[in-house]
């Protein structure tokens, strides 16, 4: 059953058709998946104070109902090293269309994956898994499976990816935590089925996986048109 909190977020997000990143992160956390520590604020000093607790470097992203593709609008800044850098980015974001705040969060290193979902006309919810980050659409190393995922589907998803050796630690690189990845896919699959009537597509991209855990660094949930 969907929590009331999630239902409320989806309901008010229908105004602009997709879920803003801070709201998407609240949803992700509430279904039991991990996101980086973050602050969402319109107040620069509050952001600086927060970074004082978690430490640099950080990532900053613009939050605006008018900006769905943040990277393309230069609304993402990674590797901010100090207060000065953060101020500069804040002042730049502040002028962007529909600015409703800045999202500042911890930076993680690891293998960048994409986990997504699409509500297909013929097959209903399907789940996509593959190499993530900005090169996603270049390499297109992806696996698609109809949801809900069965244990064997999850197994085959990671097994059949061309980049499987990278997941397992190619040429001495650390391998990622496959149990965590499987858990994530499982939870995501259940979630997708629960919001079947509301969503059009979802990108968790990148999902940053390391030897310890998988963290969802960005999430975009695009809703079906019209209210159901």
């Amino acid at each position: 059953m969907l929590k009331e909190e999630i239902k409320d977020i989806i309901k008010h997000s229908k105004l602009w058709g997709w879920v803003l990143e801070p709201d998407a992160k609240r949803i992700i956390s509430s279904i039991g998946l991990e996101v980086p520590r973050y602050i969402y604020t319109k107040d620069l000093e509050q952001a600086i104070h927060f970074v004082g607790e978690i430490g640099y470097p950080v990532v900053a992203k613009v939050v605006s109902p008018k900006i769905i593709h943040k990277s393309e609008k230069k609304g993402v800044e990674v590797g901010i090293k100090d207060d000065k850098g953060l101020r500069k980015v804040f002042n730049r974001f502040y002028k962007m269309e529909g600015f409703s705040g800045i999202l500042v969060e911890q930076m993680f290193r690891g293998l960048e994956l994409i986990i997504g979902a699409k509500n297909d006309y013929q097959f209903g919810p399907v789940i996509l898994f593959g190499l993530g980050g900005i090169w996603t659409e270049i390499y297109r190393d992806i696996i698609l499976k109809m949801a809900p995922l069965r244990p064997k589907d999850i197994d085959n998803m990671t097994k059949c990816l061309k980049a499987r050796p990278i997941l397992e630690g190619y040429r001495g690189a650390p391998k990622i935590n496959l149990e965590e990845l499987n858990r994530l896919l499982n939870i995501f699959s259940d979630f997708v089925m629960e919001i079947e009537n509301d969503f059009e597509s979802i990108d968790l991209n990148p999902v940053i996986c390391s030897t310890e855990k998988c963290i969802i660094a960005d999430a975009r949930i695009i809703l079906k048109k019209g209210y159901s």
């Binding site: 699409k118 013929q122 695009i222």
Partner: protein, 455 residues
Amino acid sequence: MDISNLFNPKSLAVIGISLTNERHPANVIYNKNKFRLQVNVFPVNEKGGLYQGEKVYSSVMDIPQKVDLAVIVTRAEAVAGVMVDCIKAGIKGAIIISGGFAEVGNKDLQDRLVTIAKENDFPFIGPNCLGIYSYPFYDTFFVPSERIVRPEKGKVTIVSQSGGILVDYMVKLAEEGVGLAKAVSIGNKALIGEIELLEYFAKDQETQVIAFYIEGFGKGEGRNFVRKVEECGKPVIVLKAGKTSYGIQAVASHTATMAGDYNVFSSVLAQYRVLEAKDEYELVPFCEVFSCYKKSIVGNIGIITGSGGHGAMAVDLCLSHGLSVPLISESDQMEIRGKISNKIQSIASLKNPIDLTGSAMDDDFVAAARFLSEIEEIDCLLVLLLPYLPGISSDLGARLSQIYRQSGKPIVAYVPHVDKFMMFVEGFQLNQIPVAHSIEEAVHMVVALKRFGEC
């Protein structure tokens, strides 16, 4: 809804027969059934009269005998009324050949048929279709008897959204000697579509392989379809048309961009072990190979040939399709060498491909095949047979089929399909060993067996 009555009617009313136009589809259907098939057929036209000296009934309700099935070939506007008459007359289903419904925008007219059918538990195929080919009982395809190419009776059933494509595949199955159980052209699939037919053919004893030509599913239908395939237990092959879409616009998410409609279609089919034939060059061999074998293979291929060139080409094709061609160990090679005839012992190459050379005899092929079918490293045999080698005979198909029946390891053969060599080809076909007309096609058959077991 019970659709079993649609396939074995004893009597048939053909409604819409023309008294003046011999090429009218209704007349073609009436004539072929009357003269060549087993069903008892009655002509119907609202005007009555005589056709070929037989009484034409002005309504199905006037036919004095029990009628099992109606073939409706009237104007679109008249179909609903005719259907009501059929129901009143106690007929158990219909094939609606008539066009002029949803395909030209008359959705309401089509919906009326569906409503009437559902209210009265009256199954129908179509509209806008060729209907059912269930030889030797009856056949509603409006292809004149003298022009239809009939495959032999066999295990494959084809369901197609397109009638034209279906007739074309029947020609191709016949050409390749692949037997057909039944064929259904579903047209607009207003009431009965792929899922209902899949459920029916899953239980149909005659049908062992079900092939579909699909242009697209309705909303959520794909989901039901793949789940039914999984339950059905028979190999299901799908050829999809409309893979490309120039309608895809820039979409808002990476997932939606990469998970295009066809990409999803193809992936989900594979997930549920539906065999997707990428094109007609795969569809026919897939039907052939699954008419003979049910089990999947891992894909370790042993190749036996009488020509080095054929062996080399087969290896390239196998490897490029993700199959492996394991080397035969030295000791196993020695053993094979001991089993083949003296005159080729020193010239045959036995590493895999096993090249028995142009001097090989039937016994050499049999010995090599028997040995490979017994070793663990190999789970499928590809036999490239060149009928112009002087030492081999048309008995080979029968002899190799016995090896399959003992070992259970599938054998796929290549024999050039020309008239002169048809005895060799039939030696395989008649003994249920799939036989391809090219090396490439033989490899496609092997690939199908492997794909059947993949995720």
